[in-house]
């Protein structure tokens, strides 16, 4: 279980990394390496070169830009940083809850938010969270930077809207009002989710974003009603079967269950007074 031959390059600037990436379609960026390195060891991934971006400080900010009401998360911020950051606790504590459901401590300490988003595993938590949060991806390309909304960034099963030579630099997450809820079902704590749901509630608007092993990517449904969260598992199961390309009964059932649990959480969370400003 040793990787095939590859070249290793440690980038000193974003520009350098993007240049290298643009010049070699077989090159891959090395962030936390939690998916790429195992894939290389299985020789499933055979990059010609690894462009190590772990030294790039520009990819590491974790700051609240309060005038704009935005939490800025650098692509290289590790999951565990999100889980323990006082800043996240203060402005977006729900994000820490999501971070803690990712893998195990060792995985969270190396794995990065940007790496997870670019890997775009449909069972991963961050893509669904970013879609639910209405986040924007800031991407560096060969010529210029551009912004991609989260819901178009994840474009399919392990596919993103990143073009050739483009890399994710940071994510901007709006600090919006409302209640949050999160639930996932996995075989063991820390495993990739079989199914999971992120729920946001604000006044009469409830949005559920699903993730899960059988999905092609995050799937969202929004319900406008005053009736509270009490739609129940079957309601969400039906919604999931309409929105997601899933026809497996068990998967639909647990997707519905996750949505229901997440909505109950979001409803009680909505009552709390967030110090978002």
């Amino acid at each position: 279980m040793k990787p095939a031959h590859f070249e290793y390059f440690r980038a000193a600037t974003i520009g350098e990394a993007v240049d290298k990436l643009g010049g070699d379609p077989e090159a891959r960026l090395l962030a936390g390496g939690q998916s790429l390195i195992p894939a290389m060891n299985f020789r499933v991934a055979r990059p010609s070169q690894l462009i190590d971006i772990n030294g790039l400080e520009e990819l590491k900010p974790l700051v609240a830009r309060l005038p704009e009401n935005i939490l800025e998360v650098g692509a290289l911020v590790r999951h565990q940083q999100i889980a323990t950051s006082p800043l996240v606790q203060r402005y977006l504590p729900f994000m820490a809850t999501v971070a803690l459901s990712i893998g195990h401590w060792a995985i969270r300490s190396r794995g990065s938010v940007g790496g997870s988003l670019c890997h775009a595993d449909p069972a991963a938590e961050w893509p669904a969270f970013m879609v639910a949060a209405g986040a924007e991806m800031v991407v560096a390309g060969p010529q210029k930077y551009r912004r991609i909304p989260a819901d178009t960034f994840c474009s399919g099963f392990m596919e993103t809207a990143l073009g050739p030579g483009e890399m994710l630099v940071k994510i901007e997450i709006p600090l919006a009002q409302g209640g949050w809820g999160f639930w996932e079902v996995a075989r063991r704590p820390g495993d990739f989710a079989l199914a999971g749901a992120v729920c946001r509630r604000h006044h009469s608007r409830t949005t559920v974003t699903w993730f899960g092993a059988d999905l092609s990517g995050p799937g969202t449904v929004t319900v406008e009603s005053e009736g509270g969260a009490g739609h129940g598992t079957h309601f969400w199961e039906d919604a999931a079967s309409r929105v997601l390309a899933v026809d497996d009964d068990y998967m639909l059932q647990i997707l519905g269950y996750c949505a229901d649990q997440a909505c109950r959480q979001a409803q009680s969370d909505e009552g709390r007074d967030y110090d978002n400003r």
Binding site: M1, K2, P3, A4, V185, D191, D249, I254, Y257
Partner: protein
């Protein structure tokens, strides 16, 4: 005896922290892959991508051309086999010979200057195959369908029938009969440290040193000598630290022969370490069994007769030297009645070849399967008669006045505490309170279940996966400085023998633990022993340590009596010093005695030899000694997701005298963890073409720490009549736990009338079986 030790510390029975732990926990232990040898070459294997195929050609020219590649071997270069002298007539070749018979079978061995180069070279070897239809279903295989795995032999390689006299009449006239089919899934031990071996020839002496994490160092040496036609005294097997073995590392594997032979041919040290994928594809599998069962019983739930067709899928070859299929079925057939008094038994066994990885030993071997069957059967009877599950067990348990008890298969349960351990477990658990809680919980849509599992554990057997040596050996040497060195022929892999054997010796010699070092796993030093397996090290190894310690002590007593001018009977020992009983002022130290024994030999009491060395071999009085106990589990099942949470877990364990309760409890914790895996998680899955789909730890789900329940353990002590009263206990916890957890899940689902007879019970299976309703039918 009591008086003799009245003032001395008693090490046997004490909660002594393990000597081994310091180096293990600091990361200072030396495992196989830590061993550095100059000019070490590495081996990697080209493994079959097909479950069944003919090999048309092997083209390795491109591999030879890669810089750093030193050799590419096929069967023609090393035409050796693991021979079968038992019921299975088919030898296993070191590298595939003309045919491949399971996905992952080693076809070509590449030796290179690094593992990286060796793996590059493996990719460059081109093997042409003609795929054949794989044999994957054990019931079809019994009828040689779709074909024979080996042309030369029928698929059924082991068939046995047994019936008690009067079985048919008893079965036919019983008031009730039930039919059920129990099935366990393929699992594997999945040791944290994978298998590996290093072979290094000494060019000066012509001897070959083999480092290997095996459970049976002497047997491996003998196997290598026999199979590779080498002189046994020119082979030395050293077992470094072993990161888990669980029976799986008791086998002699084809890769071991390939590495030793490569080191001979290349005259350079060679290493192979399995990666995790290779482990799944080549470590022996286990537990692939089906039991077609019929049980006859009366209105009270008293079981009258059991009829069982035991089947096991043995894989492509019978693992050497112990076929897991034969081990699992033949032993299960002997203990399928468990601790229950069942008069009549009829068993038929069929073990078959298939195009899967060979079945071998995994902790408990037959036990987790048989216990799951036996306890499942009792639960089904209780359900059928609408009786309480505990009550039906009471009705059937072997009573104290029946001991020693010979079961329907002819096995003698020498001693035990069957009814006592069961009642203690119910009390520990607070069974009636949990039943009330279960009732209340159901009313609010929560589904709890209670699982009960009574087990018997045959231990200290003459024959196991470790080999067929019915005794164990211990050499003890008091060094010239008065410290003690002991060697045993065991092959520990985390059991703490360095601690427990030292405890036994310390009590015999009257010295403190820190003055004893226990060594094992070097065939040049250790006396020939049977190794570790089948829960034999405590009772047999402990017996050997006791006997050797006692023999040495007798000699030391003569020295002390002579030097103190006292009678031998009046000598007492404490902290490495002998004194005349009651007169502490008159004493002599072990160091003083050792000085005379080695350096002042004219002072040696007449009749004693020079030096202080003894080797003793201990054979237990019985061929088998039974441990027993009860596990009780409470689980909650979420009917919406199928997730199972263990809420409470109680173990009452009786393994006779405890050498070290801390270590016994550690064994139990691990066995329950593995039981969670067996009941709920672990499954080796083959697809229709015979590809193993679960070859990583993301697919093969081991129980992780949060899933291991907190457990309460109570010890009962019914001593054996062997040395120290010790019984084996390495497997009982895994024998009992899958049945306890599965039983609890079934009990939780009883409002739906759902009962699983197949392991593992996965969330999807639970949800699917409940239909569309997550609330129980009223």
């Amino acid at each position: 005896m009591a008086e003799e030790f009245a003032s001395a510390p008693h090490f046997v029975g004490a909660r002594i922290p393990r000597t081994e732990d310091s180096r293990l926990l600091r990361g200072e232990a030396q495992y196989l892959d830590d061993i550095q040898i100059p000019n070490l070459l590495e081996m990697a294997f080209v493994r079959s991508p097909y479950a069944a195929a003919r090999i048309l050609s092997v083209d390795s020219s491109a591999a030879w051309n890669i810089p750093g590649v030193r050799a590419v071997f096929t069967f023609a270069d090393m035409p050796f086999v693991l021979p079968q002298n038992g019921p299975s007539p088919i030898d296993q070749p070191v590298l595939a010979r003309e045919r491949v018979r399971h996905a992952g079978e080693a076809v070509v061995a590449v030796v290179a200057e690094s593992r990286y180069i060796a793996e590059d070279a493996c990719e460059a070897v081109h093997v042409a195959y003609t795929p054949e239809e794989p044999v994957l279903d054990m019931q079809a295989a019994q009828k040689d369908r779709p074909r024979r795995v080996h042309d030369a032999a029928p698929n059924v390689f082991y068939h046995q029938e047994y019936e008690t006299e009067g079985f048919q009449a008893a079965f036919d006239t019983a008031p009730h009969r039930l039919t059920m089919t129990f099935q366990t899934t393929r699992q594997t031990a999945c040791s944290l440290e994978t298998r590996g071996i290093i072979a290094a020839a000494d060019p000066f002496s012509g001897r070959m040193t083999v480092y290997c994490g095996t459970q049976s160092p002497h047997r491996l040496r003998g196997d290598l000598a026999e199979m590779l036609q080498m002189e046994e005294h020119l082979l030395r097997v050293i077992v470094p630290e072993v990161g888990g073995a669980f029976g799986m590392k008791a086998a002699t594997y084809p890769e071991y022969l390939a590495v030793v032979q490569a080191a001979r041919l290349l005259r350079q040290p060679v290493k192979w370490t399995a990666d995790r994928v290779e482990s799944f594809l080549s470590d022996v599998h286990a537990r692939d069994d089906i039991h077609d069962l019929e049980v006859a019983f009366d209105q009270r739930g008293q079981i009258i007769a059991v009829k069982d067709h035991l089947m096991a899928d043995g894989g492509a070859y019978a693992s050497y030297p112990f076929s897991g299929a034969i081990g699992e079925t033949s032993l299960a057939a002997k203990v399928i009645t468990g601790p229950y008094d069942i008069a009549h038994l009829s068993t038929v066994i069929d073990c078959t070849y298939s195009n899967k990885v060979p079945l071998g030993a995994y902790r408990g071997v037959w036990g987790p399967v048989a216990s799951f069957v036996q306890e499942g059967m009792v639960d089904r009877i209780a359900q059928f008669l609408h009786l309480d599950a505990a009550e039906v067990r009471r009705t059937n348990l072997v009573q104290p006045n029946q001991l020693p008890y010979r079961n329907a298969a002819g096995m003698l349960y020498d001693s035990g505490s069957f009814t006592e351990s069961f009642e203690h477990a119910l009390a520990q658990l607070d069974y009636t309170r949990w039943r009330a809680t279960q009732e209340q919980a159901r009313r609010v849509g929560k589904y709890l279940g209670i699982g009960l599992s009574n087990f018997v554990e045959p231990t200290a057997m003459a024959s196991s996966e470790a080999g067929s040596i019915g005794y164990e050996s211990c050499s003890v040497r008091v060094e010239p400085s008065g410290t003690v060195t002991a060697w045993l022929g065991l092959g520990p892999s985390g059991q703490g023998h360095e601690t427990t054997m030292a405890q036994v010796l310390a009590d015999q010699l009257g010295v403190d633990l820190e003055h004893i070092v226990v060594l094992h796993g070097d065939t040049d030093a250790a006396p020939l022993g049977g190794g570790t397996g089948g829960s034999r090290s405590g009772p047999l190894g402990g017996g050997a340590a006791m006997q050797a310690g006692r023999k040495m002590r007798e000699r030391l007593d003569v020295y002390a009596a002579h030097m103190l001018e006292a009678a031998v009977e009046d000598i007492a020992w404490e902290h490495g010093r002998a004194h005349v009983r009651g007169v502490y002022a008159r004493h002599v130290s072990l160091r003083d005695i050792a000085r005379i024994a080695y350096n002042d030999v004219r002072q040696i009491p007449s009749g004693l030899p020079i030096g202080l060395e003894v080797t003793e071999r201990y054979q237990p009085p019985r061929p088998v000694s039974f441990s027993n106990g009860t596990h009780a589990a409470v689980v909650e099942v979420n009917p919406s997701t199928g997730q199972v949470t263990v809420l409470d877990y109680v173990v009452v364990n009786d393994c006779g005298t405890l050498i070290n309760p801390l270590i016994v409890e550690g064994q139990i914790h691990g066995g329950v963890a593995q039981g969670v895996g067996a009941a709920l998680l672990e499954s080796l899955v083959y697809d229709d073409s015979g590809q193993l789909l679960t070859t990583t730890l993301m697919d093969y789900l081991l129980p992780s720490a949060p899933l291991v329940p907190r457990m309460r353990i109570e010890h009962l002590v019914t001593p054996s009549d062997g040395a120290l009263g010790v019984k084996g206990m390495g497997e009982g916890s895994l024998i009992a736990s899958p049945a306890a957890i599965a039983g609890a899940v079934n009990d939780a689902l009883s409002p739906w009338g759902v009962s699983f007879e197949r392991l593992p019970i996965a969330p999807r299976d639970i949800v699917t079986s409940l239909g569309r309703s997550s609330a129980a039918p009223v």
